[in-house]
């Protein structure tokens, strides 16, 4: 990879970010903290847990670095003119590839009968990774809370998600750190980072997100609550509840509501069910700031997310964002989990751009992919030897700290 050899343009139509960021700085609100390290080293099998309080200045430096001269290597004006620092782009790419490698390994595991069910987020990486990287990560009300959809491995990857933990959940072994072999793949739960248990029940997370946002409104200065869900799910009344509760006059909540729109709910096309052609518009009647973005584009996502998060952090008011994403392997293993023709691949697009901008070479990128694929395969192999949960444990943790049958 070639560092520092690319272009940077902070003055485009999306240039509101720096304005917002500096205004937030002037209000002495700490900027969003980056969730993952940036040292560019390939991470080992065991992801390090990042410290929530580090690296914010590092990110700021990269995002707000003075504009550099356009690289001579950008070809024919066709190549994207990146605004983000190459180092950051490379890091984002790294997380994207790692996330994809994890998901594709889990799909393979399903096909090899090492797990009963898969669903996840391939096609959402260009949006998910920037989202996760801009989180304020830690435990308790001073940090961001995450009420997430079941396609969110990409959001947590930059925070330091351990792929082995996901693979353990996929294989429902006892060492699964998210549910002890009780729950489906990608039903993640990480209390240290305020990631509340992901449930299958569509849209209920929009309800629970209200509560952590209330606590943050009352007790924290700059943490926020993120809630994500799919497009079809917005038909549930629970989505409307989040709009109502987050916009109560005088009691607006620091709630960042996100809809990842992949145009489908299982087999049902959105356009057959949704008169709300722009889902984000539903926030308008409530005076909620809204925006629809292309979540398949890394930089558009990055800047939109930064801007929205800055707004929510500083204004303590809600924001509703709709991001177009794709569903590359269809809904889940229940519908085959095969690559779906016509679904956009945000990593492929990003890699073309990175190559065209001479930030990474195709070879570097394929090496990286292969390395992650190998790591994931290795993990999947290891997990086969791990024990299942013991039947005697079925009652454990019905209550906090309780073990064994209690009645």
């Amino acid at each position: 990879m070639k560092r520092g050899s690319t272009t940077k343009n902070a003055s485009g139509s999306q240039g509101r970010l720096s304005g917002n960021a500096s205004s937030s700085a002037s209000k002495k609100i700490p900027p969003a903290m980056i969730a993952s390290g940036l040292n560019g080293k390939k991470q080992g099998l065991r992801a390090e847990k990042p410290s929530a309080l580090t690296r914010s200045s590092e990110v700021n430096r990269m995002v707000h670095a003075p504009t550099k001269a356009v690289s001579p290597l950008v070809k024919n004006g066709l190549a994207k003119k990146f605004r983000l620092d190459p180092e950051l782009l490379v890091k984002i790419h790294d997380h994207m590839v790692k996330t994809r490698a994890l998901e594709e390994r889990m799909i393979k595991m399903f096909k090899q009968s090492d797990g009963y069910f898969w669903l996840g987020g391939p096609g959402e990486e260009a949006f998910a990774i920037p989202l996760g990287m801009n989180g304020k990560v830690g435990q308790g009300v001073q940090y961001d809370f995450w009420h997430l959809h079941y396609r969110s491995s990409g959001i947590l990857m930059p925070m330091g998600l351990d792929p082995m933990g996901c693979i353990r959940q996929m294989k429902n072994v006892v060492a699964d750190p998210h549910s002890g072999g009780r729950n489906f793949a990608n039903h993640l739960s990480i209390r240290e980072w305020n990631v509340v248990p992901i449930t299958s029940t569509i849209e209920t997370q929009y309800l629970t997100s209200i509560g952590s946002a209330i606590a943050q409104k009352q007790e924290a200065k700059d943490s926020l609550t993120v809630v994500t869900g799919g497009d079809a799910g917005t038909a549930e009344g629970d989505f409307a509840s989040a709009l109502v509760w987050s916009s109560r006059p005088g009691n607006e909540l620091p709630l960042f509501m996100i809809v990842t729109n992949n145009s489908w709910g299982i087999s049902t096309a959105s356009c057959t069910q949704h008169g709300d052609k722009i889902i984000a518009d539903r926030g308008k009647a409530f005076g909620i700031k809204t925006r629809q973005i292309n979540g398949l584009d890394v930089e558009e996502s990055w800047f939109a997310i930064r801007e929205a998060m800055d707004y929510v952090r500083t204004e303590r008011k809600p924001f509703l964002m709709e991001a177009t994403v794709s569903r590359m392997y269809g809904h889940s293993s229940a519908t085959g989990a095969n690559l779906v023709a016509g679904e956009a691949d945000p990593i492929a697009t990003f890699e073309e751009q990175l190559a065209a901008a001479d930030i990474m070479t195709p070879k570097e990128m394929s090496d990286l992919r292969e390395e992650y694929n190998a790591q994931m395969m290795e993990m999947a192999k290891r997990v086969k030897e791990e024990p299942m949960p013991d039947p005697s444990t079925i009652y454990d943790y019905t209550y906090y700290g309780q073990k064994g049958r209690y009645w």
Partner: protein, 350 residues
């Protein structure tokens, strides 16, 4: 021999053609998928609804108010729990209007374990549902019963709840429905092809008006020592257990309740009067469980005819069924635990 989903499909088709069914709807119920268990493939009035269970039940009620008979599906019973207030309303509208209104509507939803569905795709619904007055509730354990009971639901003037034991959806029946073509032929006629289905149309066999009256239990195995009452997924297991125990000289009478409410109490009474021993089996969690109602009634009316304490074998009272195989096995009744429970009951000294 049709599977249960094939039988349901044929019954729904019969309903469309003969019983005035005008809308069959729910999440992914229409083309192209025809239901996540394929129960609604190829039907002419099936359509996809928004992802909104409350809307689905509400729409069904409104259609019923308008006299338009419908079948609404909730994709998994796990996702019906945000509509309990509506189910209570559907069950009270006739009563609340002192008999003025009736709601001819059928809700169907897959229930229970057996597909490694883990926490959110394994829930039972019989306990919660039997506590809601004003509905008729059925749960078949064979394709033929599924067909016949669904027809009766589609004829009923009241709200009917059709619980589909999801573990049995692909199990083939032993009985042929009248007019049912052989397996391969049936498949070619009514199973949607893989791949592009946009041109596909089902060809429906002529299955007649084979209906099974509601509130009629079925004796699956006759016996003298022990009565076992069950329904749904655990029913075939009870029958298997009975067959196995016959080898040990234990004569087990198994009863498929089929209609959970209002249920066939007289069938249970006759059997218990004969055996003096009864085991109720279901897989819902065991606290405030419908089987406990049946035990209470048994105690109320047959206490002094019992030779041993009446028993319940049901799901463990845990917040869910865990995904890992050992967890699911330990959480809900299996062949082993059923057999053991019957054996123990048979051997208990009077």
């Amino acid at each position: 021999m049709a599977t249960m989903v094939q039988a349901l499909r044929m019954a729904l088709h019969y309903g469309e053609e003969n019983l005035g069914v005008k809308n069959i709807f729910g999440e992914d119920v229409g083309p192209p998928l025809g239901g996540v268990f394929t129960a609604t493939q190829g039907l002419k009035t099936s359509w996809n609804s928004p992802l909104d269970e409350r809307g689905i039940i509400g729409a069904a009620m409104g259609l019923a108010f308008a006299g338009s008979r419908c079948v609404a599906e909730i994709q998994f019973a796990d996702y019906i729990y945000n509509t309990i207030d509506l189910l209570k309303l559907a069950g009270n509208q006739c009563w609340a209007s002192n008999g003025m209104w009736n709601l001819p509507m059928t809700v169907m939803t897959p229930v229970g374990s057996g597909i490694r569905g883990s926490i959110y795709h394994s829930h039972s619904f019989d306990a919660t549902m039997t506590h809601i007055p004003g509905w008729k509730i059925v749960m078949p354990s064979t394709p033929a019963d599924a067909y016949g009971l669904l027809l009766s639901c589609l004829r009923d003037e009241n709200p009917t709840m059709f619980l589909i034991p999801k573990a049995l959806t692909r199990v083939r029946g032993e009985e042929l429905l009248p007019g049912e073509p052989e397996e391969k032929e049936l498949k070619a006629m009514i199973d949607a092809p893989l791949g592009d289905r946009s041109q596909w149309k089902a060809r429906w066999p002529e299955i007649g008006d084979y209906s099974i009256p509601l509130s009629q239990a079925k004796i699956c195995r006759s016996g003298n020592h022990v009565t076992v009452v069950s329904y749904g997924r655990t029913m075939p297991l009870c029958n298997q257990a009975a067959d196995a125990l016959a080898q040990e000289g234990i004569s087990v009478e198994t009863i498929d309740l089929r209609t959970l409410w209002p249920y066939d109490w007289s069938a249970i009474v006759s059997s218990i009067k004969k055996t003096g021993r009864v085991l109720y089996v279901n897989e819902d969690t065991e606290v405030t469980n419908f089987g406990e109602h049946l035990i209470r009634r048994t105690v109320d009316e047959l206490f002094y005819e019992l030779e041993a304490r009446p028993r319940l074998l049901a799901g463990a009272f845990t917040p869910g069924v865990g995904l890992a195989d050992p967890l699911e096995m330990a959480s809900v009744p299996q062949l082993g635990s059923i057999t053991e429970a019957i054996r123990e009951l048979a051997h208990e000294r009077a």
